[in-house]
């Protein structure tokens, strides 16, 4: 039973901040994934929570108790290391039983508990082996067993699957999720693998250069990325980001760039009736984000380029094409294909179910639904949300609110 609170934790190495003012409140029973690219401070944060290194600033609380100055062994947390850190001279049974032995549990009880855990993890036949006589997957399970054996308040895991092959990783992923469901304990899980984050987490905390970019459910993080960084980190291929300007036309906001004109589905005051000298958001430098799977191919021709007539000919309810460009390459993923298109100055990836009939060199026209567009401030990178709390006839908030 552990609720873990991280309050404004900073960890410095020399002048550099590996973790920079991170605050998290992890509820009891949650599966929190710390996600981020290599070197963003995930391990550092996890080790600070575990008590293996002291934060330079901030506090760490377990169930409301300040443990910032309490060494690792006083925190009642279990950790699975990326290297597994199995004690090489001890048998599997002794490795799993180690935490109990350290707590001076009676021998008979240790043996019974080790047998139970080995049963759960399917290690019973391997109890007398030493770590070097095990396969990678078996080592991983022993490491898990050592964490499980004493029923800790929370499990901390630092990329526990990164040394496994793809197939085993998928299987173990499911096992860990299952374990979490059954134990109902708090899990904090570090990974740079977005698939692990999306599939296992109840909440994902995305870190970038030591700072927390966003925390939310996998769905939130994927569907409403709070920053351009999160948008570009999640998804494979990740979200397309295009530099664009905001323009009002016919009372509608559009994101406009060379060869790009995307209606955003946001109604503003009629352009003909500027009350205070123009439309509210015009000229704002933004980044337009559209996920590859949300781009619809309205036409792809091997000719000199698409014309308006072909656009109107394709009966997409999304309206006319909004991005035009050329297909550079097409990657075949089996079930789908990814077309890399050059649109204006940027490359845009489109995901389409096969066969989509896309060929490198063709001209392509794409469209997207307004609800599938994301706007980010070009300087801060934060997500822009339109606030429409006022009637449409009244000029809305001048500046989109930054979340």
């Amino acid at each position: 039973m552990s609720r873990i609170t991280v309050e404004n934790v900073t960890r410095r190495y020399g002048g550099a901040k590996a973790v920079d003012g991170v605050s998290l409140d992890i509820a009891d029973g949650e599966f929190l994934v710390l996600l981020g690219p290599s070197g963003c401070g995930k391990s550092t944060l996890l080790r600070a929570i575990a008590g293996l290194l002291a934060p330079s600033e901030g506090r760490i609380l377990v169930d409301g108790r300040d443990v910032t100055d309490i060494p690792a062994r006083g925190r009642d947390l279990a950790m699975v290391f990326q290297s597994y850190a199995l004690y090489p001279h001890l048998t599997v049974a002794r490795n799993i039983g180690f935490p109990l032995r350290a707590r001076r549990v009676r021998r008979a009880d240790v043996r019974r508990r080790v047998a139970e855990v080995a049963e759960i993890l399917d290690l019973s036949a391997l109890l007398d082996r030493r770590p070097r006589e095990l396969s990678g997957g078996q080592r991983q399970r022993v490491a898990l067993g050592r964490a499980l054996v004493r029923d800790p308040g929370a499990f901390l895991m630092d990329e526990p699957l990164s040394n496994l092959d793809a197939q085993l990783r998928t299987a173990t992923r499911t096992e860990i999720t299952e374990l979490h469901r059954r134990l109902g304990r708090t899990f904090i899980y570090v990974t740079h693998d977005q698939v692990e984050a999306m599939t296992m987490a109840t909440r994902v905390a995305v870190l970038n250069r030591g700072r927390l970019e966003q925390i939310g459910s996998p769905t939130e993080v994927y569907d409403q990325p709070a920053s351009a960084f999160v948008a570009a980190f999640l998804g494979s291929p990740p979200m397309n980001l295009l530099d664009a300007e905001l323009v009002t036309r016919d009372g509608q906001l559009h994101a406009v760039a060379p060869q790009v004109d995307v209606p955003l589905g946001i109604r503003v005051a009629a352009a003909g009736a500027p009350r205070d000298g123009g439309d509210p958001a015009a000229g704002r430098a933004i980044q337009l984000g559209i996920r590859p799977e949300h781009l619809l191919v309205t036409s792809a021709t091997g000719g000199t380029g698409s014309t308006d007539s072909t656009d109107s000919g394709s009966a997409h309810e999304t309206g006319p094409a909004v991005l035009r460009g050329t297909i550079r390459t097409v990657e075949n993923l089996g079930s789908e294909e990814i077309a890399h298109c050059v649109i204006g100055a940027t490359e845009v990836r489109v995901r389409a179910r096969r066969p989509a009939g896309l060929t490198a060199g063709d001209a392509i026209a794409l469209s997207a639904r307004p609800e599938h567009t994301h706007l980010f401030d070009r300087d801060s990178g934060r997500r822009l949300v339109w606030q429409s709390d006022q009637p449409v006839s009244v000029p809305p908030a001048r500046v989109p609110v930054t979340t």
């Binding site: 293996l52 690792a72 290391f81 070097r132 050592r146």
Partner: protein, 327 residues
């Protein structure tokens, strides 16, 4: 009608890479006498590189070894104009019946036992205590401990002789004892091993520190998360993982105790008083180069060669057993 798609045949030629890649040449046909010579040369060259080292080994190690074994069956006083008289196993018989030889073996064992605290126990303690020291302080610290190792034994013997002088020596003045360190039986033995230990301590500390540094830090971190105290993690993880290093140090101590103590014995006590510091090496040397009984010394040398080979083989075997390769 269905037609099965044939599996790729094993020898299916790969489609030729676009351009510029050469086709395999007819290498067999082109192998000429010249290239055959080159092949032979290729076989010989590694041995030519090895030859100097091998030559040194044979001339300086194996030939004397064989000669020693040979001399152990003769009676000879080392002078070139005297004939070596064949003796059969007589030298060996003398060796095993001479009480002096047995006593010197016991004294050797005692010296090794007294040296072990300096090469094992103190280095472990110092190594564990200084493992946390980092950066420049660590270098300074290790240099300080290592320094005695660099002093020539004869020089340090001279300094210690002066410090151990009865009456005016700094040791007796500091401790208030009246011991005549180099001329009483037990104190002389303790002095010799103490000085040798003092010299070897730095070396052993360095070896232990290197051994500790090579232990993956993850283990102690995992242990601390697992709830082990510092002492538990030292006892259950650090020491077992350090054991190959410790066996190496035991091996070094056993095999080299004679070499380390010899110059000290020769300069400070000459094996006395009343042979109290005569170990087998010194005894061997006395027989060979004082009594000029080369045959007897050679026989002793042969016996101890085999004795130490056995001890070394056992320790190497033990070290292998104790080594746990991680990942």
């Amino acid at each position: 009608m269905f037609v099965e798609v044939a599996p790729p045949t094993q020898l299916a030629p790969a489609p030729p890479p676009s351009a510029g890649a050469g086709t395999p040449g007819p290498s067999h046909a082109r192998r000429s006498a010249g290239s055959l010579a080159r092949m032979l040369g290729r076989g010989v060259i590694p041995y030519l590189y090895l030859a100097p080292a091998l030559g040194m080994l044979v001339v300086w190690i194996y030939r004397p070894l064989v000669q020693t074994a040979n001399y152990s069956f003769y009676s000879w006083n080392l002078s070139p104009d005297q004939p070596a008289i064949p003796q059969g196993w007589h030298n060996y018989h003398r060796l095993f019946t001479l009480p002096e030889a047995g006593n010197s073996v016991l004294r050797t064992v005692a010296m090794i036992a007294l040296l072990l605290p300096f090469t094992i126990i103190i280095p472990i303690i110092v190594g564990l205590l200084t493992a946390e020291v980092r950066g420049r302080a660590r270098t300074v610290y290790q240099a300080l401990i290592f320094a005695p190792f660099l002093v020539a034994p004869v020089a340090s013997a001279a300094v210690w002789q002066w410090m151990l002088t009865p009456g005016s020596g700094i040791v007796n003045r500091a401790t208030g004892l009246k011991t005549n360190w180099l001329h009483e039986r037990l104190p002389a033995l303790l002095s010799i091993t103490g000085i040798a230990g003092w010299q070897m301590l730095g070396f052993a500390v360095l070896v232990v520190s290197a051994g500790l540094a090579s232990i993956n830090g993850d283990y102690s971190e995992a242990a601390s998360v697992d709830g082990a105290s510092r002492w538990q993690s030292t006892r259950w993880l650090t020491l077992p993982l350090l054991s190959p290093t410790l066996v190496f140090l035991v091996l070094t101590t056993v095999l080299l105790a004679g070499t380390w103590t010899f110059p000290l014995i020769d300069t400070l006590t000459q094996g006395g008083p009343v042979s109290a510091t005569t170990n087998i090496y010194y005894l061997l040397w006395q027989y060979g180069f004082k009594s000029f009984d080369a045959g007897f010394a050679a026989a002793a040398g042969v016996i101890f060669f085999f004795g130490f080979t056995l001890v070394a083989a056992f320790l190497v075997w033990l070290s292998d057993r104790l080594t746990f390769h991680d990942n």
